[in-house]
Assembly symmetry: C2
Homo-oligomer: 584 residues x 2
């Protein structure tokens, strides 16, 4: 079909879905808080105005209902709504030159509508993620008629309504900067509202796509807002961004979960999260690992009972698994050489920080050791490097989009063959010798604190140019009873942690596989090997010969959050669970 | 390296790891019960005898310790154990002609050892799953010396010890029938026990690989054994199987989880389970679906609170999700076109049947509907057919192995284009007209019972030659409030169930996406739309326009169990959870 419409000039770039680079000077959180409320009011005002205008348009124009030649081409979609049989359903992702001039159907969220005079309206139609295209509806009696009332009606559709448009694909005079699909636009012939958004959204898409101002689970009184914040400041919008759209709090986001999720920045984070899982899975499968599923419901709190959720289970008690480790080891004992699992784990820890959640996703693996536990360490390092390189290759667009909202420095990777592996003692030495004053006396025998870890991360970045490194050979006192002690030095274990940007994302090591050695070690730790939960664990190694093995558990949410340097791990989760928050 | 050993004849086929075709005439369960106890005794006796002989061999031979030229070539593996640097570590799966004559190292479970005279012993070495190879150790002074004490020592290793052998790969005179690797054998030069199994296993591999006699969670008194059984009889071993190894109960299996898992039949089931997940995931991803993760911990029991686990959650209460449906719909509302999830779901149902578990894995999907909910139905049918065909193609060996223990008829699939889709009314008509006497009066308005479903499954198999079919258009009364009523007939819903061998494996349909329609429907069902759990659900559709959508949830455990016609879904799970059972 030939297009008979004039090619309209693109509207001024005003992309609620795309944040610009964030400036350095942000308003105070108090101001942000106030501005948020103000913006809500303004949005409502604007919406009412648009409605009023639209109503005027429908009645005030000289084309009465009887004369509206386009009356069957717009309105609320019903069972009688008819689309042209020759129109092809399209996906924006696969739109190409072969579609130009063709009649197509697009089902999408209308994220923006704007009148341009009385005879033309521009809309932005978003399909998924950040895939949006500009649509133009212009009054014209030719071909499928488009009337002025139709133009006004389309221009007044509530943003975030789900619409179906029938349109011809055209190339715009110049690329449409505000939409990801920049080289095509839709000349709309029919437009129906399939599901209407409310007149007043709880949170606009533009607000949903901004930096979140505050991750606290409690709405702080305005006066206390500054002190209660755990997170970095909210940068001011740059010139490319709509003015007057301040950052909202995480609570506002979660209360408006639908709009939160529609924000391109959240969709990009979700895409990267899925990619990390795929990269983890495919790498391990290609290295001979088999997937299994550990249970969530377990009969005993194996690690002493701290921070474990407990529930009535018929006439007994059950606990929610804090880690699949026992079950990973059972798989190895049960005749598997290499296993992995991806699933939820639970911690009843009353920690209200941006690093903690009560439910999160563990990426876990366990494998037989042939000669040395370093085989496991290298496998874990390998899978993480595969993930980091994979994100960079496959998710460049998403990373860029997220950085436009949450600025971050490139995640530095070691060059192949130059992986950063320090012993715990080497790490402590670095801290003592080159770290901040307060770490001059850190000991080789005690575990590190979170601030120590961050300080070491900064030193490693400076010295080795990498945001990813391994700390090996943790002191015996810092590891649990099942950790294998270094046969050459009883003060150390064959256990390690991995770090991203100075924050721990993995803990693992070689486990004791000999039941007698295990029992001796448990006693040495002051625990009775016959106590509940412990006995069942030890018994597994008595059932039949179990080879040397080791593994590790990676926190998926942390990998995603720290790679992107997000201000909170809660942003990386689909439905973050915190001590104070179980909804949505 | 040229091999200098004589090629020994293969030992008589005696494969504990491979059951033959099961005979028709089984012993009574009471007899099986008794035989189980008897076999345990006999196994212990045999073991003691072997130990005694081994001890005699080590001391009675005329090669004293000082003269044992092979003394460095066997024993318990220590840090001083040395293997030949030129020996290559192998995997049985990738063993080929290029290895013949070469020196290799294999790490494996010794599943069987047997003396052949005083100078030769045969062992079976199992790597993973059913991958086993025959090893031969024969006394010889040539090359790396093998002494008689070494032969006897190897011949007396406790089965299911984990060993490391150094050996040359040879082709046997004729294929080794008892091992999956039939065309190669290992001529052992060194053999070390890496992790010893106990002298007396709680359950032998042969017993672990037999049909399970009883799936009850309570050990029935021997007198009541027959009545308490819920499962089909235990077939007698056929001539190809070791005599005197009766079937054990599921309780015995779970108490001996390590041996249960080592059984090739269980490893094959686990492999198929993993394959089903992969097939589900890859099919949906290739059709534009995105993976997401619903939470397990939720704030309200959305479906009325029946059968839901409840737990203290800090100062509140939490529930364990019975289904990810609400969250799947939230993803669609949140701007995704198609989503899927794979994860645990929980039911606090006190049902002690072979079809129920309290924790199981859901394969869930949800998608936007463009024109008709049949799009969803066809997508679900498509992914299941992809899974069934995929199992047949990729897991033929595993299916065969499982059938040798749990015999089953081929799972019949419809030919492409001849998928069996009946309306609920058509199904009921078939039952009335061609089903058993007691179903002459079944109604089109009431849901089916489990026996009715099975009867219909049998009729469908006979009539359409398929074990897989869809029942569509369930009556309004049989579906929950969120089910979309058929716009052309208010007595029906756009909802369906899928069946395998007459048993439900999937439930799904179109959901109501309009908040007003949803509230009206909730009221019609006698529920207050403002009640907790319901209100949060309805509010999602008020936040912004949500397109028409539908989906379905598949029980992974059931798909695996019914495809293979296993006697209990518990066999398909890694760690089955029942009202009475939380361990291991």
């Amino acid at each position: 079909m030939a297009d008979e419409e004039p090619k309209p000039a693109p509207p001024p770039a005003q992309a609620p879905a795309e944040g610009g680079e964030e400036g350095a000077a942000g308003p105070s959180k108090k101001a942000a808080k106030k501005a948020e409320a103000k913006a809500k009011k303004e949005a409502e005002k604007a919406r009412r105005e648009a409605e009023r205008k639209a109503a005027q348009g429908a009645s005030g124009q000289q084309t009465g209902p009887a004369e509206d030649l386009a009356k069957d081409n717009y309105g609320k979609e019903t069972h009688e709504t008819v689309y042209s049989p020759e129109a092809e359903e399209i996906n924006l992702k696969s739109l190409g030159d072969e579609h130009v001039g063709k009649l197509v159907i697009l089902r999408a969220w209308l994220q923006n509508a704007r009148m341009q005079g009385a005879k033309m309206a521009f809309v932005e139609l978003r399909e998924e993620g950040n895939w949006a295209i500009q649509g133009v509806v212009a009054a014209s009696p030719e071909g499928t008629p488009v009337s002025r009332p139709m133009v006004k009606w389309v221009g007044a559709i509530n943003p975030e309504s789900f619409v179906v448009v029938e349109a011809t694909v055209q190339k715009p005079l110049e690329p449409v900067k505000s939409c990801r699909v920049a080289n095509y636009e839709l000349h709309i012939k029919k437009c129906f509202v399939h599901a209407a958004a409310p007149t007043m959204l709880g949170m606009t898409l533009a607000a949903a796509n901004r930096t979140i101002a505050n991750f606290s689970d409690e709405e702080p009184p305005v006066e206390k807002a500054v002190e209660n914040l755990t997170i970095a400041s909210t940068p001011a919008p740059t010139s490319g961004e709509p003015v007057g759209i301040p950052a909202a709090t995480m609570l506002t986001h979660l209360d408006n979960i639908v709009m939160h999720k529609r924000a391109p920045v959240q969709q990009a984070i979700a895409d990267i999260r899925a990619e990390v899982k795929d990269l983890f899975r495919s790498y391990l499968k290609s290295h001979g690992f088999k997937e299994f599923e550990p249970p969530c419901l377990i009969s005993a709190a194996s690690e002493g009972g701290a921070n474990v959720f407990c529930l009535p289970y018929f006439d007994k008690q059950a606990f929610l698994a804090q880690s699949p480790q026992f079950y990973k080891q059972m798989e190895i004992a049960g005749g598997r050489k290499r296993v992995f699992s991806i699933g939820p784990v639970f911690r009843a820890e009353n920690s209200n920080t941006p690093r903690h959640m009560t439910e999160f996703t563990g990426l876990d693996m366990e494998m037989e050791i042939r000669k040395d536990y370093k085989e496991v360490l290298h496998m874990l390092e390998g899978v993480l490097l595969h993930i980091f390189r994979g994100i960079k290759e496959r998710c460049a667009y998403e990373v860029e989009l997220i950085r436009s909202v949450y600025p971050s420095e490139e995640f530095l990777l070691p060059e192949p063959g130059k992986e950063v592996r320090l012993t715990f003692a080497e790490g402590q030495k670095l801290l003592r010798e080159e770290g901040p004053e307060e770490y001059r006396n850190v000991s080789d025998d005690e575990d590190m604190s979170t601030p120590q870890e961050k300080a070491l991360g900064a030193l490693v970045r400076k010295k080795f140019n990498s945001d990813f490194y391994v700390l090996d050979k943790f002191p015996e006192g810092a590891r649990p009873f099942y950790a294998k002690v270094d046969p050459t030095n009883p003060k150390l274990t064959n256990a390690y942690d991995f770090f991203m940007r100075g924050q721990e994302i993995l803990s693992g090591g070689q486990r004791i596989n000999d039941p007698e050695e295990l029992e001796a070690r448990i006693r040495q730790k002051g625990v009775d090997p016959a106590s509940p939960g412990i006995k069942e664990y030890v018994d597994v190694f008595k059932q039949a010969g179990v080879p040397a093995h080791g593994g590790g558990g990676i926190g998926l949410d942390r990998v995603v959050a720290w790679y992107l340097n997000l201000p909170s791990v809660h942003l990386a989760a689909f439905y973050p669970r915190t001590p104070k928050r179980l909804v949505p």
